[in-house]
């Protein structure tokens, strides 16, 4: 862990060393903002952001987002930071940027509307047209649980689910995952920013960045065997997910440390944090540690002791999946 000042000294060097282009001409290097050999994860906190039962302050959430993104990218200004996350060609080319929320748990434990709007605001400030921002999830119910309103009008910020867009008729496969993907992912979005919400999960142990991809397939319940392992890892290796879902802004403003993924108000907790990064495995590993610390603090067993460690995280990091790193020594964790 290091201070923000220390990070700013090293970030430019790291960024300069990385920058390869893929066959599609898109930046494909995992963790372009990290030190060489490490995956970067930023936890940004505002301890007094969210008191129990109180509504979130929009300006403070925007400020927290800015702090997270500028720290992650090493850029001083939010607009510059966002320009280093969203390729210029996507902005000038009118490509659609998807924001994949998570409203499965209902309105008590879903991606916060104020966070979605803050991200949309920053995207528009770097030139993304409102209609080229598409907030999406499985269906209208999930989106409405976040406080969003369905809108398909391309002149405004768009918001609709896979229940409107449909799923591909042809399944795609990787390992145990044989899935029909949402057309929003395959046909509409050039890039997706993943906006999961941190929850304990009765089967998987933890649901956050990688598990949120269950919301992009038609029948996620078919990937639940064996604690969602290797289902989660396999699913994230499906090319459209691996390549298009490039960045995670994890919502840990509110969380449930037990009883998830549904809403259990008696297990609600307010970490008041955002967890951001390009390496989805490192983000999930970091979130797992945070969740376990809370469980121990309130007298619960760790997820390992409770018999449901999120084994899919290690699977995602293995040689067969190579989605990122789950070794704390190789995660450049920065808390701001």
């Amino acid at each position: 862990m290091e201070s923000r000042r220390d990070f700013l000294k090293t970030a430019a060097t790291g960024a300069a060393l990385l920058g390869a282009e893929s066959k599609l001409g898109l930046a494909r290097v995992l963790n372009q903002h990290a030190q060489p050999g490490k995956s970067k994860v930023v936890i940004a906190r505002d301890a007094s952001l969210h008191e129990a039962g109180a509504s979130l302050d929009e300006k403070r959430v925007l400020a927290l987002l800015d702090r997270a993104i500028t720290a992650y990218t090493g850029r001083a200004h939010p607009a510059e930071a966002w320009k280093s996350i969203v390729p210029a060609s996507f902005i000038s080319g009118g490509k659609v940027i998807g924001l994949k929320t998570n409203g499965l748990g209902g309105k008590g434990i879903s991606t916060h509307l104020v966070l979605v709007l803050a991200i949309a605001e920053r995207l528009q400030q770097i030139g993304v047209k409102p209609g080229n921002i598409l907030v999406w999830d499985r269906n209208a119910r999930d989106l409405e649980a976040c406080g969003l309103t369905i809108n398909t009008d391309p002149s405004r910020l768009r918001c609709y689910g896979s229940d409107v867009a449909g799923y591909e008729a042809q399944p795609v496969a990787f390992g145990t995952a044989n899935v029909r993907l949402s057309k929003i992912l395959t046909r509409e979005c050039a890039m997706v920013i993943n906006l999961p919400i941190l929850k304990e999960h009765d089967l998987a142990g933890v649901t956050f960045a990688m598990k949120n991809m269950y919301g992009v397939v038609q029948r996620p319940n078919e990937l639940h065997a064996n604690g969602c392992n290797p289902g989660v890892a396999d699913l994230n290796c499906v090319p459209a997910i691996r390549e298009k879902v490039r960045f995670t802004i994890g919502d840990a403003l509110t969380s449930v440390y037990d009883g998830g993924p549904g809403f259990h108000p008696e297990r609600l907790w307010y970490p008041n944090a955002l967890i951001v990064g390009e390496d989805r495995v490192a983000v999930d590993h970091t979130a797992w540690q945070m969740l376990d610390r809370k469980r121990v603090e309130v007298g619960f067993e760790t997820l390992e002791a409770a018999g449901r460690p999120p084994r899919y995280i290690a699977t995602a990091a293995d040689a067969a999946h190579h989605l990122g790193v789950n070794d704390s020594q190789r995660i450049h964790l920065m808390e701001v």
Binding site: A52, G108, H201, G262, H264, P265, E266
Partner: protein
């Protein structure tokens, strides 16, 4: 005469079957949701949605497995609002038998729950109430807390229980 006798027997069997079946059918088809205003302060704010066991993942993906393992037959859900402020969701799980409802209630119970007199057994937390009655498992969850939310939730729970 023989035919007539058989007809009488067949009719008698049908009547007996209906008498036996009605309570079960009534339970399965009963609408457990109090209408707006039936419980003081509570308005029903959504249509009731019903999920068969095979489709439960569409409602509670990730949570569905524990209910399936306990023998859930169907799940109904509806939203309510108390005095225009406190929002709550009422889920009614119809299990195959009372043992299934008991299994879910007991597995979700932790030391900080308080017991409430509802149905066959019930527990309450600050923002939620869970109780079972026969094959039914009811979970009522509020999304906020207000000074009178605990009492309001209990009143709603009694309203649901009375309709089961």
């Amino acid at each position: 005469m023989i035919f007539r006798s058989h007809w009488k027997w067949a009719f008698a069997v049908l009547v007996m079957a209906a008498v036996v079946a009605v309570p079960g059918c009534k339970k399965k088809n009963a609408d457990p949701y109090p209408a707006s205003g039936a419980i003081a302060g509570w308005q029903k704010t959504s249509d009731t949605r019903v999920f068969a066991a095979k489709d439960l993942w569409q409602y509670i993906d990730g949570d569905a497995e524990q209910y399936l393992a306990a023998g859930v037959v169907s799940t109904a859900t509806s939203d309510y609002k108390y005095q225009g402020q406190l929002e709550a969701t009422v889920d009614v799980y119809t299990m195959k038998d009372a043992a299934g409802a008991r299994k879910i209630l007991e597995s979700g119970q932790t030391g900080d729950a308080s017991r409430v007199q509802l149905g066959d057994a019930g527990i309450a937390y600050a923002q939620s109430i869970i109780f079972r009655k026969g094959p039914f498992l009811v979970r009522i969850v509020a999304f906020e807390t207000t000074p009178d939310s605990a009492q309001a939730l209990l009143a709603l729970a009694h309203g649901v229980e009375a309709k089961l």
